[in-house]
Symmetry: C2
Subunit: 220 residues, 2 copies
């Protein structure tokens, strides 16, 4: 499937926090809810989005932006498996997205969406340092990575509204303590919502769908 | 087990390539072989190092530097499971190590080593952009991350001498094509050595041990 790939230009604006606040306000005024999705490489961002979108797309107009340094495999996967408008953003080697880069992607995606997912570069460090202007931040931690990740990567867990613990279908196979992991996440952010899921098998996807419906419907 | 943790200072030198070349020369003159170990978070850097060190430590004097943004779990694990001198480096929020930060760690570790492993911050983007001054670069890609990682993160795979594909004991459980993964790695770097391993079960560790023995013994 053909999807459009955009090479993002480096931002010329110096104050990213200001650009992010401006973008967030504009999105709110237009009634668009933008979710910034972060995780390690290979934690399952794309497969989680596919599972979520297939449950949400009958109720909301959804768009997707897939950021990567190279390749368009994720945007193609999303377009093919959900039918939703999807653009691939190439970061020109950059390890994160900022608000102006996000704006470039949104301009390309166009108008008419209730909900837009922005899949950030797979990286637990730099994406957390740059406000994208999103309405909320979501992080996915996967079971094979280990339950100690929130201890090693403080910032991303401390700023996330929602943390999904993915690949719980593989819990029996890895030395991963779910309770300890939840404790480690809450140590970084006591108000985080934590939902264990298996994007592959479908566990927990219903709870995440409810989480988003609650937010989106209260805006009506 | 008590291990020393050092908070690295940000580098004041502007030309990292120059600092790295200088450090590499000094290490060669002292007969120290420094391995820069990179991967995604949770790909198994620490468990791979433990498995390797336990096979190599009877023949070589080995030291370990564990870099993380926070926590000292990795340095404690290495010290406890191998008995080797190990220091924890805290990067003060930084997403990578450069040559001067590596030098600070080496100064703390002290002299008298044949082989030193530097476990970089878990990140497939930024660590690849900064030469640490190491004698070689090694990347670990783990099966649960997916066989497409070399397509998405070009630089780290293009600059690595050795790529270990870890967690092959979980191959039956994930949608991972070993042959396709090897092809993707070689697409980025045709001269990379690729060794599939399971740090947990021990598969392939012998081949990696032979790889290092060959390099270290030719220096005698």
């Amino acid at each position: 499937m053909e999807v459009k790939t955009i090479l993002l230009k480096k931002s010329v604006f110096e104050d990213n926090d200001l650009s992010a606040a401006k973008l967030r306000k504009e999105l709110a005024d237009k009634g668009v809810f933008l979710v910034n999705v972060m995780s390690s490489p290979g934690a399952g961002k794309t497969s989680t989005l596919v599972a979520l979108i297939n449950e949400l797309s009958s109720s909301y107009r959804i768009g997707v932006m897939e950021a990567d340094i190279d390749s368009d495999v994720d945007a193609v996967t999303v377009a093919k498996k959900t039918g939703c408008p999807s653009v691939q953003l190439h970061t020109d080697g950059m390890c994160h997205l900022d608000a102006e880069m996000t704006r470039q992607g949104l301009n390309e995606l166009g108008d008419g969406f209730d909900l837009i997912f922005l899949e950030n570069v797979g990286n637990l460090v730099c994406p957390a340092e740059y406000d994208t202007g999103a309405s909320m931040d979501m992080t996915i931690l996967s079971v094979p990575e280990g339950d100690d990740k929130p201890l090693k990567y403080p910032l991303i867990y401390s700023k996330c509204d929602l943390v999904l613990i993915n690949k719980i279908d593989a819990l029996h196979y890895f030395d991963f303590d779910l309770e300890k992991c939840e404790k480690n996440i809450l140590y970084r952010n006591p108000s985080a919502t934590i939902i264990p899921i298996s994007a592959r098998r479908g566990d927990g996807i219903g709870a995440v769908v409810q989480y988003f419906k609650k937010i989106l419907d209260q805006g009506e």
